[in-house]
């Protein structure tokens, strides 16, 4: 293996991590207190949480501003660029494993816990003793204790959303190709298209959630179908939101003339992240909606 070694820039000191640590502390402590106190009069947790979010936003701005300035000043060697790329890909791998936990829960519920509650395998007595009326089907529209809900159809809105997100991956790819060829005007156009598609996706998700809650009786507490549906699509939605913000920052940077055809780690990272979110959606669409 031939690795090129140049001067590796090590920033001497930085205040951003400790600010971020305090922000994260306030978020966790605030959210923890807020959730623990739900249903009581106490509201202090909410304010701690909001303060924490503000601190984190401040930190993200500051940290990225510093990093961008360093990058523009040419402090980053090829070797550091590799560090960033590898770091980003391992981060995405950790995200994959985070989603894997929830997909695992979905598969377990479908393949094991629901059939077993219905008496499958050697669990005939489980059914007889616990809920003899229970019929094991997926989607689980009637829970063992008799809560009712409706399953989300894949035709219609979810299908449109799939097409929107798939298209957005293609538009982003075009933006990237153009950046590599140093054609900046089309980069902006394709990137803008991607961001708009991302925002439309999110708006349609909100529509879907409203419909689920108000019309279908599909809620978080509607049994394990609702649990897996909302946790999977919800966490995915948060990732799309983050990805859209990421792309927006890239758009601003492109407009300011940042990046060159061979050095654009941030763009690469944003694009990887977006494609990853897209692939997760594809799995969601297949396993949550279609099958």
């Amino acid at each position: 293996m031939t690795t090129k070694h140049e001067h590796y820039y090590v920033p001497s000191q930085s205040a951003w991590p400790i600010i971020g640590a305090m922000g994260l502390f306030l978020i966790a402590f605030g959210a923890g207190t807020y959730i623990s106190d739900m249903g009581t009069e106490a509201t202090v947790g909410k304010y701690i949480l909001i303060t924490g979010i503000a601190v984190i936003i401040f930190m993200v701005f500051g940290w990225f501003r510093t990093v961008i300035a360093e990058s523009m000043a040419g402090l980053y060697s090829q070797q550091m660029d590799r560090s960033f790329r590898q770091g980003m890909s391992w981060f995405i791998f950790s995200e994959v494993m985070f989603f894997a936990a929830f997909f695992g829960a979905l598969f377990y519920a479908r393949m094991v816990s629901v059939p077993w509650l219905g008496g499958a395998s050697n669990n005939a007595m489980t059914q007889v003793v616990l809920w003899p009326e229970f019929v094991a089907v997926w989607p689980l529209e009637t829970t063992p204790d008799g809560r009712l809900t409706q399953a989300m159809e894949w035709m219609g809105l979810p299908l449109y959303n799939t097409l929107i997100l798939l298209t957005s991956s293609i538009t982003l790819h075009f933006a990237h190709v153009n950046l590599e060829n140093d054609k900046r005007a089309p980069v902006k156009a394709w990137l803008a298209a991607t961001i708009i598609l991302g925002v439309i996706f999110l708006m349609l998700q909100v529509l879907e959630y409203t419909h689920a809650y108000q019309v279908m009786g599909l809620t978080l507490d509607a049994g394990v179908y609702g649990s897996t549906f909302f946790l999977l699509t919800g966490i995915h939605g948060m990732h799309v939101t983050l990805g859209t913000v990421f792309l927006f920052v890239l758009f601003v940077r492109i407009s300011k003339g940042h990046f060159s055809h061979d050095k654009h780690f941030a763009f690469q990272a944003g694009s990887w992240y977006w494609h990853f979110v897209d692939v997760v959606w594809l799995c969601l669409f297949i396993f949550v909606y279609v099958l």
Binding site: M1, V10, P17, G62, A73, S83, F93, A109, V224, Y225
Partner: protein
């Protein structure tokens, strides 16, 4: 926003300034508390991790003392059962996430850049962040103990429905503290992987990589693969408890056993996360004090990788009594037993390294040899537990407690101590006091066996774990165990004294204080300069 820009400008200029200073190699660290809060230096961060780990070790140890004091006699004397449960829970969490894992990350921070000839960790600012969120996570966790209704009392494994239906109000705080610990571990792991892959000095090919770096690389991979799964598990506990989801609730179509599957999918690789770096440390210390090359270097690498892969296929051996299908029980039993093959390779290689070596028994070597014997005992009791029908008897008894304390205390913790004795001359520039070190070793190794060995018998006789009271026939052995526990706890204060004395002064350490030692870390002076290898050395 204007002021913000200005601030950044200043810090930008500052860092550029410092960057010039790096080149002359005599750049001294800034002084005061800000050095530690703002540092991006791998050695500073390593030191922070190690001190944090030690403080957590004493905190968790104190909780163990409470447990052993309560168990000194049958009946309920000192604490009420709910508090006892909080002690067993938080003792486990603090020791796993606060003591063992940060200690290894601290050692990785200190040693890996020096071992591979890198100027620092690959992502220095993120390195600072991954450390500093950790104390905050533990502030949250420990503060929940003082809240109304108490802190987590459901065991460190937080099985549903104990952690959902029956848990205290403060469970949300527990959940978020685990999230932060996970984020910290993942960032630490990313840093180690990127450093090892991308920052090796020219000529440091994969098969020349010191085993500590190798084992940590594989550990880091495990961390990135399973910490997010733990984050998923706590998230589901959170939504089940507070937002009405039914992941672990049969009435809604979920299953409490599902929790155990998800948890142990994280939990079993986690066990190897806490032992693989130990194997790396052993592979550094045993050859040094045997004055021989490590026997079977490449088989060590492959064995480590095999253990890591197998660790994903054995999680349900923690769940033999949950009523899994027989096929699953057999599958997990055989896979578990398979792990003893690569582990056996390692034990064999260390023994073969010592074979016909010219051995001396300084403190690091004493800890290493005791690891070899005592970890093997833990490995054997693990094999006993792996046998499904036998496990039906051992499950949730003190036999399990004895087993995992042998692998974690005389395994992980003993190698961490060995590592500190081995590398502390490099960190402080002084030799530690060998007499006190040996005293610490002998006190520890004797008391730890009085503490944990009789637990095997308690377990085989049927004493359940995690219960504050017990039947009268267990009283004698429990008293012996508790005395061993207090003695082991007190022995660790000797360690504190040794470390503080070594930082303050002592015999000057040469660049290479151990004649048989090999590796780049011994080619730079002791104490290691603030910035080592600003230009990478060339490895022949």
């Amino acid at each position: 926003m204007n002021t913000l820009t200005q601030e950044n400008q200043v810090s930008m200029d500052g860092s550029l300034q410092d960057d010039h200073n790096h080149d002359d190699g005599h750049h001294a660290p800034p002084s005061g508390i800000m050095r530690w809060l703002l540092t991006t230096n791998h050695k500073d961060i390593g030191t922070l991790y190690l001190w944090f780990s030690f403080i957590m070790f004493l905190t968790g140890g104190l909780m163990a003392m409470v447990i052993r004091a309560e168990l000194f006699q049958p009946g309920l004397q000192l604490v009420d059962p709910n508090f006892f449960n909080q002690m067993t829970t938080v003792h486990g969490l603090v020791m796993v996430f606060g003591a063992v894992m940060p200690a290894f990350t601290g050692l990785a921070n200190w040693m890996i850049p020096m071992m591979i000839g890198a100027p620092d960790m690959a992502l220095p600012r993120m390195n600072n962040w991954s450390f500093w969120i950790l104390p905050f996570a533990f502030i949250i966790l420990l503060s929940s103990l003082f809240m109304e209704g108490g802190g987590p009392n459901f065991g460190w494994t937080f099985y549903a429905p104990l952690s959902t239906e029956y848990s205290p109000d403060s469970t949300a705080l527990f959940v978020f503290s685990i999230h932060i610990m996970g984020i910290s571990s993942i960032m630490g792991a990313i840093n180690v992987i990127v450093t090892v892959i991308n920052m090796r000095a020219p000529g440091m090919t994969w098969m020349k990589l010191p085993l500590f770096a190798w084992t940590w690389l594989i550990t880091a991979f495990l961390l990135i693969a399973v910490m997010p799964v733990l984050a998923g598990a706590v998230t589901m506990v959170l939504t089940d408890k507070y937002f009405g989801t039914s992941f672990f609730e049969a009435a809604g179509g979920g299953d409490p056993v599902m929790f155990q599957h998800i948890f142990w999918f994280f939990g079993h690789p986690e066990v190897y996360i806490m032992i693989l770096p130990s194997f790396g440390i052993m592979s550094a210390i045993i050859p040094t004090f045997s004055r021989k090359k490590l026997f079977g270097y490449s088989s060590m690498v492959y064995a480590t990788a095999s253990i890591a892969i197998l660790s994903f296929l054995v999680w349900a051996h923690h769940m033999f009594t949950t009523g899994m299908p027989v096929f699953a029980e057999l599958f997990f039993m055989y896979c578990t037993m398979l792990i003893s093959v690569p582990t056996g390779v390692k034990i064999f290689n260390w023994v073969a390294t010592m074979w016909k070596g010219s051995l001396t028994f300084e403190t690091p070597m004493l800890f290493a040899i005791s690891f070899l014997v005592l970890f093997t005992i833990g490995g054997f009791s693990g094999l006993m537990l792996a046998i499904t029908p036998a496990d039906f008897q051992y499950h949730d008894t003190y036999f399990v407690v004895a087993h995992f304390h042998y692998v974690l205390v005389t395994g992980a913790i003993f190698t961490i101590m060995a590592a500190v004795y081995y590398w502390i001359p490099k960190w402080t520039g002084h030799m530690y006091n060998e007499r006190l070190g040996k005293l610490h070793f002998w006190c520890s190794v004797i008391s730890v066996n009085i503490l944990f060995f009789p637990m095997h018998f308690l377990g085989l006789a049927g004493m359940p774990r995690r219960i504050p009271d017990y039947a009268i026939q267990f009283a004698d052995v429990n008293q012996i165990v508790s005395i061993g526990g207090f003695a082991f706890g007190l022995s660790q204060l000797i360690f504190l004294v040794v470390v503080i004395k070594c930082i303050r002064g002592g015999e000057k350490a040469p660049a290479k204080p151990w004649e048989g030692a090999e590796g780049l870390e011994w080619e730079i002076p002791s104490p290691a300069p603030y910035h080592s290898f600003t230009t990478p050395p060339v490895i022949k």
